[in-house]
Subunit: 161 residues, 2 copies
DNA sequence: TTATTTCCTACTGTATTAGTAGTATATTAT
DNA sequence: ATAATATACTACTAATACAGTAGGAAATAA
């Protein structure tokens, strides 16, 4: 059950934009270099995010990309759905008519729970949350993850929109 | 992020064995019919589960497959790992040396949390748990999913383009 | 011996992924 | 006006994984 590079790259790119929020457009070339992503590939991903309304672009010299909303208004779930399509590990979880035995299928219950668990995590984290974590990490150097759990718990309310 | 049919079929097959636990071997032909899975394909999946020690087989006439352990000793996580390879949504979650920026990468923290959440669900459910649920469901006929649906609806805010 | 069932190996069409490539269009600076 | 820069759009492609199919060998029971 691997995640596509689309989603991984996309989230890293959007995170760059979040860190740059308020400072005007950021060129994809810079993001591509910093994140070691193919520029041309990145362009394609950004197009998707743009038509979904999460980022906007400015063309031409001195152009680039910006977040279209404040970083606290965009969850990882938003970006994920946009690029990965769906968390749906199994079709029947969201589409009940997909399989005739939906009601009896105990396996489906498992996938439903997995689905909920993943959604719970993705929806609880905003871009702003991650930017904040990044700042804290820098402060702590690479001592690491000590207060990770506390931070996560604080974010349990997330889900603005 | 879709689940392969390998894992889905495998779990359904193993669930059949769990329901049949204590009653001798069950033929793949029966499982294939009941679960609408290609027999030949199912054979391959069972081979994997067999060499991992979760099921054992009896060849020849009156042969078939049995669980190699009690259903309460096998978790969904066990079967999942055996067939899907890994929950690892992203390589760097389990393999720290995969990427040089592991320590600084905030995106990685997200995938780590997703990973933990999924593992938590999969590890908490045994085959016996599911057999028990199936019995309860039969008692309730198909009344039983009321709460389930409500919970799913709460999560439908999708922005899926 | 015959019917049944698992075991083993190899092959294959389809779809997706992760890009690459080229060109067009918009914007800024000179 | 022109050059430089950056996004926008379209098309193509190599590699891989997925989801089977196919055929026969070996074991077992009746």
């Amino acid at each position: 059950m691997k995640l596509s590079t689309r989603t991984r790259y996309g989230i890293r790119a959007v995170l760059e934009l979040a860190e740059n929020y308020g400072n005007g457009p950021l060129r994809l070339k810079i993001i591509a270099q910093r994140q070691e992503i193919s520029l041309k590939y990145l362009e394609q991903l950004m197009t998707v995010l743009r038509s979904a309304g999460f980022v906007r672009s400015i063309r031409g010299s001195k152009g680039g990309y910006l977040l279209a909303k404040a970083p606290e208004k965009i969850t990882i779930s938003d970006v994920f759905h946009c690029l990965e399509g769906s968390v749906v590990t199994v079709e029947c979880v969201e589409n009940e008519s997909y399989c005739p035995r939906t009601n009896d299928c105990i396996a489906r219950q498992v996938w439903t729970e997995v689905h909920k668990a993943v959604m719970g995590v993705l929806q609880s984290i905003t871009l702003q949350n991650l930017v904040d974590r990044a700042k804290n990490n820098k402060g702590l150097s690479d001592i690491g993850f000590e207060n990770e759990k506390e931070q996560i718990n604080l974010q349990e309310n997330g889900k603005t929109n």
